[in-house]
């Protein structure tokens, strides 16, 4: 029988973050998930996790820290000063959105700290300014708990909450 599981990284970490930013910027800032940059409009925001780290192992759950990387990309036009001002303004706005949504409400996650911001990142794209925003997100994952019973003939079966059982030989 297949296990019950949740797509935590995508559903609980990445999607709420993207939705909050989309709500804030409406259509003015395309926000997408990918590990590589896409050519979208004059400015865009790329979101992708780089890693997760176990913080604490509990009896029925695991507390993990998810490191999320966001690259803000704006195309340079003219002498670049306008684009630079726009980048600083938008990055500050993103930072404020994250600060104002430091807990997930009905979704049990919260940011483990304020984001770190690095300007002038080399993302391998020409004629753009790139600002990298890195945010740590904590999430506690509750997992299924099984109990093991051994039978008299050395076989065993495993139960969860009594509603069903899994037999392994």
């Amino acid at each position: 029988m297949a296990l019950n599981y949740e797509n935590i990284t995508y559903e609980k970490i990445m999607t709420p973050l993207r939705d909050k930013l989309r709500t804030e910027f409406k259509g003015a800032l395309p926000v997408y998930f990918d590990s590589k940059h896409k050519e979208i409009g004059t400015k865009s925001l790329r979101i992708y996790p780089t890693s997760q780290e176990l913080q604490e192992k509990r009896t029925k759950s695991y507390l993990n820290l998810y490191n999320i990387e966001m690259d803000y990309v704006v195309k340079i036009y003219g002498d670049g000063e306008k684009a630079l001002n726009e980048m600083y303004k938008d990055v500050s706005r993103i930072e404020t959105v994250l600060f104002n949504n430091s807990n997930g409400g009905d979704i049990p996650y919260f940011y483990a700290g304020m984001p770190t911001i690095e300007h002038n990142v080399d993302a391998g794209i020409d004629n753009v300014y790139v600002s990298r925003i890195t945010i740590p997100v904590l999430y506690e994952e509750v997992h299924e708990r099984f109990v093991r019973f051994i039978t008299s003939n050395d076989k065993f079966f495993v139960t969860s909450d009594g509603l069903f059982y899994i037999v392994r030989s």
Binding site: L3, T50, S51
Partner: protein, 139 residues
């Protein structure tokens, strides 16, 4: 006379992990133990043992911590929202499989210390998640 010994890395650790993944994914996610990366279909895993550390020396048993890397590869040519969602769905499912494994076998304690994501040109379109795992086992 040769001593009787158990091939702990193979039988107790790696084959237990292979069996758990096979029970959950059947043949859709093969787990290989080869060290060299080779493209093998749409999705596959490679299990790499790193090292083992002894725990307390005990009478009649050998408790060890085994450190492994479990690499999951998924081919992603489309690179859209749906395929990214599917990739992380598989990552969570593998994670849950390891956690359930820890509960089922009393001699097998599995911890995922972290997962790192890579997506390099050298993988030819594959997305990669590397699980840094520690398995405590007594034999």
């Amino acid at each position: 006379m040769a001593v009787a010994s158990t091939n702990a890395w193979k039988i107790d650790i790696e084959e237990t992990i292979q069996r758990a993944i096979k029970n959950e994914f059947f043949s859709s996610l093969p787990v290989f133990r080869s060290r060299d990366f080779q493209h093998r279909g749409n999705q596959f895993c490679i299990l790499k043992g790193d090292n083992s550390e002894p725990q307390n020396t005990m009478y009649q048993v050998l408790p060890n911590s085994y450190n492994l890397d479990f690499e999951f590869y998924m081919l992603d040519h489309k690179r859209n929202d749906t395929t990214i969602k599917h990739f992380f769905n598989q990552v969570s499912r593998i994670e849950e499989t390891f956690y359930s494994l820890a509960d089922i076998d009393p001699l097998f304690n599995c911890t995922i210390n972290g997962i790192t994501y890579e997506d390099d040109v050298e993988f030819n379109g594959y997305r990669k998640a590397t699980y840094d795992m520690t398995v405590r086992n007594v034999r």
